[in-house]
């Protein structure tokens, strides 16, 4: 107990002596954590690709989405895709379609199954569904802000 108190006191002394360094290190650690979460959700190739081709990726919030499944998600990251002949593609993961009202719907079906039921516009494939917890939501917002900032910086 005494040891923990001494260590806490030493840490607080260092923080009070170097507040700016502490903030920088905290931000850096935080960024590593957030980006690790995102790599875990999106996968490394999609994560890197989202920074190279930001226009391909879109973050949809829960109020824009209508989910087919009953699970409660905070949103989704979509990779925009174009197909000339939709019937020939072999996508089997989660797909995103936009209705004429502008709302997005996610289907966990094959393209053929969706074609049979509706005629909405195909937007792309779902890279990841964001679980409804504050850390995941924050990670996605962080990703969105970083992409926007990188774009503004380079344009």
């Amino acid at each position: 107990m005494e040891g923990i108190r001494t260590v806490t006191k030493q840490i607080l002394t260092v923080i009070s002596k170097h507040p700016h360094h502490t903030i920088f290190c905290t931000l850096f650690m935080f960024s590593i954590l957030i980006n690790s979460i995102l790599i875990g959700y999106m996968g490394l190739p999609a994560f890197i690709d989202s920074f190279n081709n930001p226009s391909k990726y879109e973050l949809l919030s829960s109020d824009q989405l209508t989910l087919e499944s009953s699970k409660n998600y905070a949103g989704a990251i979509i990779e925009r895709q174009c197909f000339d002949d939709l019937s020939k593609n072999e996508l089997t993961g989660f797909l995103c379609l936009r209705s004429s009202q502008g709302t997005y719907t996610i289907y966990s079906q094959t393209r053929e199954g969706i074609d049979a039921s509706i005629s909405d516009e195909f937007v792309g494939e779902v890279v990841t569904l964001i679980p409804n917890d504050p850390v995941s939501l924050f990670a996605c917002l962080w990703w969105q802000q970083t992409i926007e900032f990188k774009n503004n910086l380079l344009s």
Binding site: P19, F24, L27, F28, S31, N35, L137, L141, W142
Partner: protein, 236 residues
């Protein structure tokens, strides 16, 4: 992409927001220190202003605006960070420092006029001022504060912040309001004063006024020192 370049790329992705947020934090803390706000209070203010600007859905989950009243189809609101924060900071600091209110009211006229000239009401976006036009109101506030530093009871930076904030509220938001409301809209529209949160013209011109004032004070002091040195050299 080989392994080393991929690691460097990921490191860049990790560092980019860190450097950006750290720069904003450092500027904010520097400005708050010039306004005689303690480090701890400055840190809290910085956290809320940056958080509400970049992550509004997390920091302000229920509502990011305070509803005031309606005029026709227009619903008028104020933003808790973009409007309430700078106004409260200005009023509390001016009150504490026993400010020269007469000077502030007179100085508000040119700053508000400049803010009125530099901003335009746009139906979808609100009242906007493109870069670099939005720098003129804080520039005017800073020039007035730096030139009249002897007439003030307290720091010129504090006066510059208040002039920047109230000048933009009066000249940009309030003066352009009738023009914005005159647009005919079919459905209900929201007009939020300070709606861009920490990056709204109100907050931004307060912060930039302080930085400009510090710069002008430094330039004037350097000029005075140079003149003083020249006098000494002439007398020798």
């Amino acid at each position: 992409m080989n392994e080393i370049s991929m690691i460097l790329y990921i490191l860049g992705i990790i560092l980019l927001p860190v450097v950006f947020f750290y720069a904003l934090y450092y500027i904010s803390i520097y400005v708050y220190s010039l306004l005689s706000i303690s480090y701890k209070k400055g840190l809290v203010l910085t956290f809320f202003s940056l958080g509400a600007t970049f992550f509004p859905s997390i920091l302000l989950p229920i509502t990011d605006q305070i509803y005031l009243f309606s005029i026709g189809s227009w619903q008028i609101s104020i933003h808790p960070i973009g409007f309430v924060f700078p106004v409260l900071i200005s009023i509390s600091l001016l009150y504490k420092s026993k400010a020269n209110w007469q000077f502030i009211i007179l100085s508000l006229i040119p700053v508000s006029f400049m803010a009125f000239l530099m901003t335009t009401p746009v139906l979808e976006k609100g009242i906007i001022a493109p870069f670099p036009l939005w720098l003129f109101p804080p520039f005017t506030a800073a020039i007035i504060s730096a030139l009249n530093k002897d007439r003030m009871n307290s720091s010129p930076c504090l006066y510059a912040f208040s002039l920047g904030v109230f000048g933009v509220i009066l000249g940009a938001d309030i003066a352009h309001f009738p023009e914005l409301l005159s647009y005919s809209v079919s459905s209900s529209m929201h007009a939020v004063i300070g709606g861009a949160s920490g990056f709204d013209l109100i907050f931004l011109s307060g912060i930039v006024s302080v930085i400009f004032t510090k710069l002008f004070l430094f330039l004037f002091e350097t000029k005075n020192d140079a003149q003083f040195l020249r006098k000494i050299q002439a007398n020798m």
